[in-house]
Structure formats: structure tokens, C-alpha cells
């Protein structure tokens, strides 16, 4: 038959690049990511902070609240690498333990925002109509507030604590993920393979989780990585404003706000927490940029 002959021809073409036969989109991305030097730098920075956070007890012998009042505001030395604060506590220790807080805040805030944002985004995008209307309006309203301001409002209602700051940051980020997912879902909903899935007789749940979501991961991952950085910045800002972590938690923003009075006397109390915040955020930004280039070159703008 004419058809079978033709197939053989095209099979030959395929055999030609047989080694590519198992390349999945995931591996392809990893390969591109490895080539991106900035992304690697970002990854290393984050890795270093993760290691510091995990091994904080091994890196330093003192605790976060070991006050030696006779040892106040000592400049950096061999004993206290980053100096001591106004209660004579070792700043390096506090920064190392503070890495745990910042990373966890970033993680939980982003995860929370991701879960709720994705959920709402899917509902709005997939079902459309009045529910889309409603969810989109709520997103509009939340986005009408500059994020730090909305976070302030939420903490004002919930009361000051690290946990509430975390909740506030998560809420503030929900519409960002929600909108992203919604627009992605809407564009995917029109795709033929989603229509095909429906035509196959698949249930909505299966279509969403097997067809729509996996194809929206690229922008979500990028946004989550960048969101990590923003969440850490926002937590620090809330801490600085006295609306986040409480003493003696060594949250970096809180450390900065506690140290403000000593800017003339002991600048190191301000320099090191600030640099730590900057480096972690830089790490996530670099990695986010790298992921964006690797996952979805079209998203560049």
C-alpha cells in the first residue's frame, strides 16, 4: 500500500535522530538552565543560605538570645565575625538563624499564595462566567492596593506576629498568581488539545490537572521563584515597620529596625542584616530570570 511505504520513509528520518527519542520537555529545560550562568550563580547563593540555615547550630556555638550585656555593640572581630548588637548578642549567629526565618517565610508565603492563587485562577479561568467575574473583581480590588500597604492593613487587623505577616504576604500575592493562572487557563482552554480532552470524555478535574495545569507550570514556576524574593523583602519591610516578627526572633528586617538607633555608634549592626536580605533576594531574582529564559523565552518582557 502506498501509505505504508511513506511511513517507512519517515521512520528513517526518525531513526536518524534516535538519541533524541526520550527527551522530555523537562530535561530540555534543565539542559538550557545549566547553560545559564546567572541562574547558576543565583542557585549557588540560595544553596549557601539554605546550608547556613540548616547548619546554623554547627556554624556557631552561641544561641540567638544569648545576651552578654557587658559585651554590647562590639565591632566585628575574630570572636564575633559580624560584631554584637545592643544586647551583646552575636550578630553572625542571629543572621544564620535568621536565614531560616527568611527562607521559611518565603516558602510558606509563596506556597500559600500559589495554592490559593492557582485554585482561584483555575476556577475563574476554566469555568468563566459569573464566577470569573467575581474572582477577577476580588483580584482587582486586592491589586488596587500597593502590596506592602495591603499587608500592613491585614497585619493591623490580625495583630503583629511573624505568622500574621506571613499570612498577609501570602494574601497579597494570591491575586498575582491567580491572574497569571487565570490568563494561562483561558488561553489553554481554547487550545485544541484541551478541547480534544473534553471530546474524549474526560472529567473537568482530569482536564485541569492533566492537561491545563501541567502546561501552565512554566510561568508559575518563574513567578514563584521571583515571588520568593519579593516575599522575603516584604517580610523584612513588615519586620522593619514593627509589624512582623517579634523579639527575640532574629528576623532580618526586625534586626535592622532594632539597630536603627546605633547607626552612628555601631554601623555593623545595620550592614550585615541588610546585605543578607539583599543577597538572598538577589539569588532568587537571578534564578527566576534564568528559569524564565530557560522555560519560556517568550515571557521575557
Amino acid at each position: 500500500m502506498q501509505t505504508s511505504r511513506k511511513i517507512e520513509v519517515s521512520n528513517k528520518n526518525l531513526q536518524h535522530d534516535e538519541d533524541m527519542s526520550t527527551i522530555s520537555p523537562f530535561r530540555d529545560t534543565m539542559r538550557r538552565l545549566r547553560k545559564n550562568r546567572l541562574a547558576i550563580t543565583g542557585f549557588i547563593i540560595i544553596l549557601v543560605f539554605i546550608l547556613i540555615a540548616i547548619f546554623a547550630p554547627l556554624l556557631t556555638s552561641s544561641g540567638i538570645d544569648d545576651q552578654v550585656l557587658s559585651n554590647r555593640l562590639q565591632p566585628p572581630s575574630a570572636e564575633h565575625w559580624f560584631g554584637t548588637d545592643d544586647l551583646g548578642r552575636d550578630i553572625f549567629t542571629r543572621i544564620a538563624y535568621g536565614a531560616r526565618i527568611s527562607l521559611l517565610v518565603g516558602f510558606f508565603a509563596v506556597t500559600g499564595a500559589l495554592i490559593f492563587g492557582t485554585f482561584l485562577g483555575i476556577i475563574a479561568g476554566y469555568y468563566g462566567r459569573w464566577i470569573d467575574m467575581l474572582i477577577s473583581r476580588i483580584f482587582d480590588i486586592l491589586l488596587a492596593f500597593p502590596s506592602i500597604l495591603l499587608a500592613i492593613a491585614i497585619v493591623a487587623i490580625l495583630g503583629q506576629s511573624l505568622q500574621n505577616a506571613l499570612i498577609a504576604i501570602a494574601i497579597v500575592n494570591i491575586p498575582i498568581f491567580g491572574r497569571l493562572v487565570r490568563s494561562k487557563v483561558i488561553s489553554l482552554r481554547e487550545e485544541e488539545f484541551v478541547l480534544a480532552a473534553k471530546a474524549q470524555g474526560m472529567k473537568n478535574g482530569r482536564i485541569i490537572f492533566h492537561h491545563v495545569l501541567p502546561n501552565s507550570t512554566a510561568p508559575i514556576i518563574v513567578q514563584a521563584t521571583l515571588g520568593f524574593g519579593t516575599a522575603i523583602l516584604e517580610a523584612a519591610a513588615l519586620g522593619f515597620l514593627g509589624l512582623g516578627a517579634t523579639s527575640p526572633t532574629p528576623e532580618w528586617g526586625k534586626m535592622l529596625s532594632d539597630a536603627r538607633d546605633f547607626i552612628q555608634l555601631a554601623p555593623w549592626t545595620l550592614i550585615f542584616p541588610g546585605i543578607s536580605i539583599m543577597l538572598v533576594v538577589l539569588g532568587f531574582n537571578l534564578m527566576g530570570d534564568g528559569l524564565r529564559d530557560a522555560l519560556d523565552p517568550k515571557m521575557k518582557n
Binding site: M1, Q2, T3, S4, K6, I7, S10, N11, N13, L14, M20, S21, T22, I23, S24, P25, E191, E192, F193, L195, A196, A197, K198, A199, Q200, G201, M202, K203, R206, H210, H211, P214, N215
Partner: protein, 328 residues
């Protein structure tokens, strides 16, 4: 060819699909596009019904509305005697086992993140084949049926050519032994050389599995060889419906005549004057009154501007909607 004796497998009665147009300050509905406007036809078991028309005439919408991939605005869709236009979503989902679709774009209709195996086995899974081994077997079987190799199963769509992808799409449609397949311009995105392979494959499959096709195309030449009957659509309406040979030999509607005159013939003896239609297709948002075709019809009469012609039988099995042939 025609098997009139049995009851039709599918009967479409006065199907309509209007899309709302929103605008204005409050984003209210300010108009509607009549993509499918009062279309009726039936398809017999084992038959291939071709539907032809220019792009935007509503033929794809008709196909998708039959499967309720787009919810029809009005009308009845009787599948094996049951009106499926109003059944519950769950019931519809199960009915889709029997009614399948092959899409136009083989690049867009396959999930890029799934392997061929997953693509083809998914419909099996959702319709109750829970045994993974059985599914694997069936996938291999299907791949061979559509002329692909078993080991293609582990690959991703982007590693295939357009023709091969369409074969995957066909295999997926066949997976659950459907009774009716709507082929939505399945070859129009393919190279001409590949088109005939796919068409031949589909023909073979029909015979092998006693399938019924609704074959949608924008080009009369594609459906000529495969269809038993052909319907011609213009601006959301069916203007002519006739058996294959009658339509090609004796087209009644001026629009059909014009379409046909554009088809290059392989037979040098038959010579047709090419009829060139003037003007553009009118906007479906604001279709002309009366016969929608009258603005471009070389034979338009006064009545055409006023009265909409209905699809009427002019010959046995030959129906046309045109005042030239209306009795009264």
C-alpha cells in the same frame, strides 16, 4: 452506497449557535454572531457526510456543537434517536465514547507534555479500562492500525511530522470504538502529498470498523473522493445537500456552482467556466436579509433580498435552499 433503510445514526434539527458580542460602557451584549443558523440534516450509519464551505461559514462550529464541545443555542441533536442537546454533562461525557472528533491542527490538538502512549491511553482510562497492561496492548494495536510503530509510544508529539501526528490523533479517536467520528478538516493543515495518505487511511478505517464520518472541509476537492453525501454551507446556513455524484454533476445552488467551478479537474474533457464571485463574505454579525447569498449571487432576484429560502427537496435526496428552485 446509501443505506436509507436504517434509521439515521445522527439527526440534527434546526441547530443554532449564536455568539454574543459585548461592548459599550457596561460591556453588555450589543449583538450576536449567528455562526450556525438553523441547520438540519441527518447522517446514516456507515455513511460519510461531507460538509463544505468557506472559512467562517460555521461548518466547524456545527461539528463542535454536535459534540457539545460548544454548547448549541437552540435545536435538537438526535444521536441514535436520543436528543443529546439537553442531557447532563455526565451523561454527555459517557456518550463521547461513541462520538469522536479529529481536529484540524495536528500540532495543537496533542498535549505537548504527554507521550504518545499517554495521549492514546487516556481516553481508554477515562472510559473504564483500568488495567494498565491492557491499555498498553491496545495502544500498540492502535498505533499499528494507523500505520505507526509500537515503539513510537514513548515519544513526545514534537518528535513527529504533521502527518504522523494526525495519525496519532486518529488513533486516539479510535481508541474506544466510536460509532461516529467528526473529522474537522483533518487534512487541511497537511502537505498535499500527505493529505491523500491520511484520506486513504481514513477510508480504510471506515470499512474496517464500520464507522460513520461527518467530514468537514473547506475544499470540495477533498471531500469528493470520500463522501457519500455533501452539504454546502454559507454564512451559517446549509444551502445545498445532495449525494456526492449529483452535487458534482448537477449543482443547483449558484454558490455551489461557483465553488465547484474553482475546483481544478483532472479530466481534461470536462470544461467549466470559472465563476468568479464578487465582493467579500458579509459579516456574520450582520448578515444580509433574505437569502444570505444574494449580495454576491450572479442570479439574484428581487425576492432573494426579502425572503429567506428554505432547504427544499428538488430531486430525490437533492435539497437546495434557493428561490430559483422554490415551487411556490
Amino acid at each position: 452506497m446509501s443505506t436509507q433503510t436504517e434509521a439515521p445514526i445522527l439527526k440534527v434539527n434546526r441547530l443554532k449557535k449564536y455568539f454574543d458580542v459585548n461592548g459599550g460602557i457596561f460591556g453588555r451584549k450589543i449583538g450576536e454572531i449567528k455562526a450556525v443558523d438553523d441547520v438540519s440534516f441527518s447522517v446514516n450509519k456507515g455513511e460519510i457526510l461531507g460538509i463544505v464551505g468557506e472559512s467562517g461559514c460555521g461548518k466547524s462550529t456545527t461539528g463542535k456543537a454536535i459534540l457539545r464541545l460548544i454548547e448549541p443555542t437552540e435545536g435538537e441533536i438526535l444521536f441514535e434517536g436520543e436528543d443529546i442537546s439537553k442531557v447532563s454533562d455526565e451523561k454527555m461525557r459517557q456518550l463521547r465514547r461513541d462520538m469522536q472528533i479529529i481536529f484540524q491542527d495536528p500540532y495543537a490538538s496533542l498535549n505537548p507534555r504527554h507521550t504518545v502512549e499517554k495521549i492514546i491511553s487516556e481516553p481508554l482510562l477515562v472510559h473504564g479500562m483500568n488495567d494498565a497492561k491492557k491499555r498498553k496492548e491496545r495502544v500498540k494495536e492502535l498505533l499499528e492500525i494507523v500505520g505507526l510503530r509500537k515503539d513510537h509510544a514513548s515519544r513526545y508529539p514534537h518528535q513527529f511530522s504533521g502527518g504522523q501526528r494526525q495519525r496519532i490523533g486518529i488513533a486516539r479517536a479510535l481508541a474506544n470504538h466510536p460509532k461516529l467520528i467528526i473529522c474537522d478538516e483533518p487534512v487541511s493543515a497537511l502537505d498535499v502529498s500527505v493529505q491523500s495518505q491520511i484520506l486513504n487511511l481514513m477510508k480504510d478505517l471506515r470499512e474496517k470498523f464500520q464507522l460513520t464520518y461527518i467530514f468537514i472541509a473547506h475544499d470540495l476537492s477533498v471531500v469528493k473522493h470520500i463522501s457519500d453525501r455533501i452539504g454546502v454551507m454559507y454564512l451559517g446556513r446549509l444551502v445545498e445537500l445532495a449525494p456526492n455524484d449529483q452535487l458534482y454533476e448537477n449543482p443547483k445552488h449558484p454558490y455551489t456552482q461557483a465553488l465547484l467551478s474553482a475546483v481544478p479537474t483532472t479530466d481534461p474533457d470536462i470544461k467549466r467556466d470559472r465563476i468568479i464571485l464578487e465582493g467579500d463574505v458579509p459579516s456574520p454579525e450582520n448578515p444580509p436579509t433574505g437569502c444570505a447569498f444574494h449580495t454576491r449571487c450572479p442570479m439574484a432576484m428581487d425576492i432573494c433580498k426579502e425572503v429567506r429560502p428554505s432547504l427544499q427537496k428538488v430531486d430525490e435526496e437533492h435539497n437546495v435552499a434557493c428561490h430559483l428552485y422554490q415551487d411556490e
